[in-house]
Symmetry: C2
Subunit: 608 residues, 2 copies
């Protein structure tokens, strides 16, 4: 071992001991008779001292060393005359009597400090230097600890971690797959899993009962700011359970992580139906660190001659307590905010409640004091409050108001770092209708079970379809034929649930279909021809014929959960070697061209 101790552990108890430390030169100071070097390793920083009088040769040598040189230094632990209470090792220093330069270093392209001078692109290129910064080191340590505690909890609950294959089969439903050409089976391709979904279901069919895996998943999507082509899931599945069992089990996991990692005590997680979440917060992932629920105002706001409200599908607002004194400028800022294309409202209406209780609005022309009082009463508004109202198409208004609510939460400091409000959103719709492709998509995925009482709607829909068209035609053709189907499948509820923390979806799951016939119906609704269904999911539907137990599961975004626990927004800093927004690893310069002989062996060529 090139050291006897680390740079993070020596203190007064060690004074007088001979030690050897190894690490990187963080910083050196030449004080005439003395030279100080801060030596850094994973565990901390310790001060080395070189004395010109005692050992001039060594001291001269030490003066020549540059930043990030790798050193091994031996000497005696000594009490500092000038202690540094902000450092764990600040009471001592090492009087060095021998020094080995284990490696030299060029001057790094940016400083190895929390507040570095390096831009993101540069730091990505030299990721191995970026990772030397304490903040990044802490992020990966947190991630490690999260993984340990996740496994501790699930292992105790008798879950088995089982590895599923990475070389699987492409299923065009959902996001794009990354594919892998097979050399041994020329012209054929594996695909990298978007999740181990079908395999974990097969493990339930196989009787494994409680499965989990901290597992990499892959999606070939155009990357938005905070997406990565490869990401990590805590993937879980249980058999012989109901939704209640799953929520309890994984609320237990979340509570365990909150307690063991953050020492944060959580209360029972609220369970909010999807429709309620949309109605009260305009979002299926509401931040519950603060209230500010939506109030719907159609009844009281319409019919007063104000065109914007009268024409609106929905008039709704929030009450921001204590903002009644907002200046013209602040209100203009808010108006600008809601008009941003990403928010998309056309105007912002406000009602102030003055200290004396009188009401003043931006629509006084249309609304009398009495009218405003009725509205204010709905909000239970108090002197000093500010009511903010949006109106328009229902969905659009809700989503804009949700953005405004979060913005006001930020402005009022209600989204407190270090405070956490986890909740379950339940009763999701099973299907979403897509106007563009004129078909239904699975809101969660094609294996999610509808709630039993809604299955008859699916049956009605399918029987209507088959009455009106030959059975063999695929659904998408039928839809493009503009058949009017009297059953709106968007009303079918799924046995699905999401875990949301502070406005971020951390995980989601569902009770699965475990019956071949129902699975076939679901795939038909999603527009699969019988042939496509058999080709892509035949193995799963076959498995359902051999005694598939009732089962369900959940998957958590591990990168994101870690980021949330660190109070960070971006997952990138919690991944050791992330890719940039073009899916490139700029450090290793990948993806890259491969040799012609590799292409030839794989039986593929580039389209130039």
């Amino acid at each position: 071992m090139l050291r006897t101790h680390t740079c993070g552990e020596l203190n007064m108890n060690y004074v007088g001991r001979d030690v050897t430390l190894s690490g990187w030169l963080q910083r050196s100071r030449d004080m005439g008779g003395l030279t100080f070097i801060d030596l850094r390793d994973r565990y901390g920083i310790t001060q080395l001292v070189f004395n010109m009088e005692i050992n001039p040769v060594l001291c001269e040598e030490a003066r020549k060393l540059g930043r990030e040189f790798v050193l091994s230094a031996s000497g005696k632990v000594t009490e500092r005359s000038n202690k540094n209470p902000r450092m764990t090792t600040g009471d001592i220093e090492i009087m060095v009597d021998s020094l080995t330069v284990l490696n030299v270093s060029k001057t790094p392209p940016f400083t190895i400090e929390d507040n570095t001078d390096g831009g993101e692109e540069l730091r990505m290129k030299y990721r191995y230097l970026d990772l030397r910064r304490k903040v990044n080191k802490k992020n990966l340590e947190l991630r490690h600890k999260m993984a340990i505690e996740t496994r501790n909890y699930l292992n105790l609950q008798r879950f088995l971690e089982i590895e599923t294959p990475y070389l699987i089969k492409s299923t065009p439903e959902g996001a794009r797959d990354f594919v892998v050409p097979s050399r041994m089976n020329a012209g054929q391709f594996y695909a990298l899993p978007q999740s181990p979904q079908t395999f974990k279901q097969l493990l339930m069919v196989a009787g494994f009962d409680r499965y989990y895996q901290i597992v990499r998943c892959f999606r070939d999507e155009d990357l938005r700011a905070d997406r990565q082509p490869e990401f990590t899931q805590i993937d879980c599945e249980m058999a012989f359970v109901t939704q209640e069992d799953i929520l309890n089990t994984f609320e237990g996991l979340a509570k365990h992580l909150f307690k063991s990692i953050l020492n944060f005590d959580t209360e029972v997680f609220p369970r909010i139906p999807y429709e309620t979440a949309i109605r009260l917060y305009g979002s299926d992932k509401p931040d519950l660190r603060f209230g500010m629920e939506f109030m719907e105002l159609n009844e009281v706001a319409k019919g007063k001659g104000f065109r914007m409200f009268d024409d609106a599908e929905l008039v709704a607002g929030i009450n921001t307590q204590g903002c009644g004194e907002y200046s013209r400028k602040q209100l203009d800022e808010l108006t600008d905010f809601v008009k941003k294309p990403q928010v998309g409202a056309s105007a912002l209406i406000y009602i102030r409640v003055a200290p004396d209780g009188s009401l003043k609005s931006s629509v006084d022309k249309f609304y009398s004091s009495e009218d405003l009082a009725v509205i204010a009463l709905k909000f239970n508004a108090k002197p000093g409050d500010l009511i903010l109202i949006l109106a328009g198409k229902c969905n659009k208004t809700r989503s804009a108001l949700s953005e405004l609510r979060l913005e006001m939460g930020n402005r009022l400091g209600l989204r407190k770092p270090g405070h956490y409000k986890p909740l379950w959103v339940i009763d999701f719709p099973l299907l979403e209708w897509d106007e563009e492709t004129n078909r239904y998509y699975a809101k969660h995925h094609p294996f999610t079970a509808p709630v039993p009482e809604d299955i008859r709607m699916i049956d009605q829909y399918l029987s209507h379809i088959s009455d009106n068209k030959p059975v063999s035609t695929s659904l998408s053709e039928q839809n493009s034929g503009q058949i009017q189907v009297p059953v709106d499948l968007e009303n079918v509820h799924a046995n699905a649930y999401d875990l949301v923390i502070n406005g971020v979806e951390i995980g989601g799951g569902s009770i699965r279909i475990h019956n071949k016939e129902l699975q076939k119906k679901m795939l038909t609704v999603l527009g699969f021809s019988e042939e496509d269904a058999a080709n892509q999911f035949g193995f799963l539907m076959n498995a359902f014929e051999y005694g598939a137990p009732p089962h369900g599961g959940i998957a958590f975004g591990f990168d994101r959960w870690t980021a949330i626990f660190a109070g960070a927004d971006s997952i990138r800093d919690f991944i050791a070697f992330p890719k940039n927004n073009s899916g490139r690893d700029v450090m290793i310069d990948s993806p890259a061209r491969i040799k012609d002989e590799q292409l030839k062996e794989l039986g593929i060529k580039l389209v130039s």
Copy 2:
């Protein structure tokens, strides 16, 4: 929860309790007035009883249920009149008063028993049924436990588990890569990692000190019997260490696994230099559960006119104790064995030591009793022993004799199941010369450090090369030019080591090069042009310029280690969803064709 208890936990303590169990119908017996069903889940089997007198309707229903039906049964725990001491739950049974069929099952294509009637191909296709068999369930449970204990040990030793990317860059050195076409960077490819080698080294440069990861690796090789295109490694790396530190740390890991998983106490692992292993056992992964070391006989066996020995580069043998009475037939079998193409010897010579100490050999024509006595003395042979001798080219003779040694170990029952002899093989050669391609290959990989005292041989070799050819020419061209280089780099020792258990290589590693110049030299020796070296490993060599610490590591084959602990030969049974010898997953039928639009998006087409 569709059960109150599992099928593995009920015993006399529960008698009188009302319980609900869920599981699969393993077997049912109709005994007239009573019907018995063995209900199976992950945890065990419990007997259900249906009584024709008490509840004829339910009993009739139970009689109709087939194998592998999924049931939920409620009733009272009752003491059995006819106890089964071989079952954990054999003291009790459940008097069922209500029964739900959770799912039906077609008759499985093979029996769900340890001794199944299903052939391998069929079981692979229905892997989800194959995994229901107890033997497979136990294998995956063992794997889970191995992973837990591996992490427990390494976490305590302050290792951090850090995830490295799966979408990396193709490096044609070594085995073939699986590649992944990039849609966003058309014409370019990612590669799946054969191991996280360069990334773990970069983590050491980043200062993480102690890294591990239980990680999937990929190799596009023509699959031999016991290879898989994707396999799992316990991948580890440490900084500021010497070989001694690494051997101690991971001997600790191995001891921990032996103790915690098998309750097997191991002694200090012997460390055997590569050359010694080859000389004494003809193998760099000797099975040390038994001795039977090779004895080299050139001195005593040559010069007696026996052509086979006289012409041989090596005459060597083993003494098989207690086989002196082998019959003609048994000796013929051994001769047939050594002549098999996979063993490759031309003949087998023997010397028997009779009970009276007299010697009888198959070469009595050439060797007098005195000659034979000299040989027998070398072996310290005793009455009843049988000396077996092979001769020929040195390497070939050693490898054939190694096979014979293992065969004799098997015949004599010396390779005891449940007994383990781990050892380190050290001092491997750094390079191997390949006659076919006329170049050196890295025995371990290009990042392995030579032992410091042998670096001068590399310098001599390179200076000889550059004296004889323009420096810019690549090495492979120089070699094809048939330059005679006076330095044989096969004598260079690597700072590398393997962990071997019972004749199987479980893991291997090395101290790495951490100096850019030495890494460049190594790549030159391996025939990399400067351009190729920069293109493929530039990021690593750049990293070495910014303060790379001394470091080294090891990787263990996790599938294989688990198999060894289960006393099994094949890794396939320890992988939940393995591929067959053509790299196919026959269950999901992958690899498969992908859609033309996918190919188009990726900018590739098939060569037809």
